[in-house]
């Protein structure tokens, strides 16, 4: 793994109580790279993301950001290194309006740039602009996901981590989310922003990801491009059920 890696993890082991979930994961994301994370239910995708974010303690192994050790650092310290999170279930603050959900997160990047402003986020998600004074819970699932992504962008991240990007969304809305992610990626790469995304839709995921990982019971069993994965239908059948 080179020094160009924005975020890098080595030999990660995580537990929930006594149950051993991650078994020595090596994981890296480079500047501006898009990594797709796949695997069946309960294989540890969310746990991996949450360990990287400092939300689940790593019992062994290390996490580095820009080469600096951040293993088990407080989540806000990791976030302030330029890592933003769009969680499973969206994590919208129900007692804040749409406007407040966005504004509470607003922060210039570590290098001072404010590429993503309130206005720019609303340009990207015009639906949110119409609902600024609604409570977070009054939004549809798709709108909540847009808000969660918009909120993450308000922190001007260098790395955007999305868990279950389109889970539970109607196909039309899911397509819109993918289109927006593609737009963010296109604009993001120019600004050096990376994306890690978990989703069950292999086709959509591999269309935007430079690299795909498959997780099985807390271990990485495949790492490669979408076309490399397509060339191994037995892997897709076995681990993704496609």
């Amino acid at each position: 793994m080179s020094a160009a890696n924005l975020l890098e993890a080595r030999g990660l082991h995580s537990y929930y109580g006594a149950s051993h979930i991650l078994h020595g994961i090596d994981f890296a994301v480079g500047t501006g790279e898009v990594v797709g994370l796949m695997g069946r239910n309960g294989m540890g995708k969310t746990t991996l993301l949450r360990t990287l974010l400092g939300l689940v303690p790593a019992r062994q192994g290390e996490v580095r950001i820009d080469g600096r050790i951040m293993t088990n650092a407080a989540p806000h310290r990791i976030a302030r290194q330029g890592v933003a999170y769009v969680p499973e279930g969206r994590g919208i603050f129900a007692n804040l309006s749409v406007r407040e959900n966005l504004l509470m997160a607003a922060r210039p990047a570590a290098d001072g740039n404010t590429l993503w402003t309130f206005e720019r986020v609303l340009d990207t998600f015009p639906r949110l602009a119409e609902r600024l004074d609604h409570g977070g819970q009054q939004l549809s699932g798709g709108e909540q996901q847009m808000l969660a992504i918009g909120r993450a962008l308000m922190t001007n991240p260098r790395l955007l981590i999305l868990d279950e990007a389109t889970e539970g969304l109607a196909p039309l809305i899911a397509r819109e989310i993918w289109r927006i992610l593609d737009r963010i990626r296109a604009s993001a790469i120019a600004a050096g922003v990376a994306i890690v995304v978990v989703d069950k839709n292999f086709a959509a995921l591999s269309a935007i990801a430079n690299r795909n990982l498959i997780l099985v019971k807390g271990r990485i069993v495949f790492e490669g491009s979408g076309s490399e994965l397509k060339a191994q239908p037995e892997l897709m059948q076995q681990h993704l059920g496609i």
Partner: protein, 285 residues
């Protein structure tokens, strides 16, 4: 006129309750800690004010300095002890904060003794506004009402209109998500705890001239504050405001209409509201 006076008293008592319980409800709502020692800071505020005003001769000096000292004690307590309770069972919280009540009572006994003390109303406010031939209303009580209203307005403004307030509410709704967006949750919790403690101490300080500064004074208000938190809805500042005023009114009305049962009025109100809205007035179901 009699009723006007009672109404003014009810509002003044209600607003004082609000200062006391706003911190309690925030600490319960955001950190999930039942701080039984919250009432002790009402006592701490009152005793510090008694002591400082006796030493300096000035209530105007004693109130802010006493409040600042309480804030510092709050910070110290949060970072050394309370912080360890966040992920614990309520049983530990109740045991530890009950222990703190005993510690504060003992310290009070050591430093100030067990006598009842009084604090003089400052000269400039030591007069009454005549309402009728025989009835008048003390200006210092109006002063308490005005100051409490100003602080309530400030609190409302900070929580609903500022970025710090957004972060507090976000931390209330989902602390983990807030931290993943860069909010320093340990710092936020320490600040909220210490401000809550300072508000309770301030209530004790400003009320000192109209109540007696006495042992156990914190425990009496604690019970009523817990009722405010339950009626208002855990974590809801707006709910705490409404609940405090309702309790002020219920308490005053109870004393007028049925003096022998006056202690019950507050609990009847609580039972009625909980039957109607179990989640409290300020929270959505």
């Amino acid at each position: 006129m009699f009723y006007l006076i009672q109404l003014l008293n009810a509002v003044q008592y209600g607003l004082l309750l609000f200062l006391l319980s706003s911190g309690l409800t925030l600490i319960f709502g955001i950190m999930g800690v039942i701080n039984l020692a919250h009432g002790s800071f009402y006592m701490v505020g009152a005793y510090l004010t008694y002591w400082l005003s006796k030493m300096t001769g000035s209530l105007w000096f004693a109130i802010p300095i006493g409040t600042a000292i309480a804030f510092a004690i709050g910070l110290l307590l949060e970072t050394t002890i309370i912080r360890r309770l966040y992920r614990r069972d309520h049983l530990y919280q109740v045991l530890l904060t009950f222990g703190l009540i005993l510690v504060f009572e003992e310290l009070r006994s050591i430093f100030f003794g067990d006598e009842v003390h009084g604090v003089a109303v400052p000269e400039v406010l030591n007069f009454s506004i005549p309402l009728t031939e025989t009835l008048s209303y003390p200006v210092y009580r109006l002063f308490i009402t005005a100051v409490c209203l100003a602080i309530a307005a400030l609190l409302y403004f900070v929580i609903h209109k500022t970025r710090a307030g957004m972060m507090i509410r976000a931390g209330n709704s989902n602390p983990e998500m807030a931290s993943a967006l860069g909010v320093n949750i340990p710092l936020l919790f320490a600040a909220v705890f210490a401000v809550g403690i300072a508000l309770a101490a301030f209530a004790g300080a400003i009320a000192a001239p109209v109540t007696s500064v006495a042992p156990g004074m914190g425990n009496q208000v604690l019970i009523v504050c817990l009722v405010v938190v339950v009626i208002g809805g855990i974590g809801s500042i707006n709910g705490a405001m409404i609940a405090s005023l309702l309790i002020g009114l219920a308490d005053t009305l109870g004393k007028i209409l049925a003096p022998e049962y006056s202690g019950v009025a507050v609990y009847l109100l609580m039972a009625a509201i909980l039957l109607w809205r179990p989640q409290g007035l300020g929270n959505k179901s």
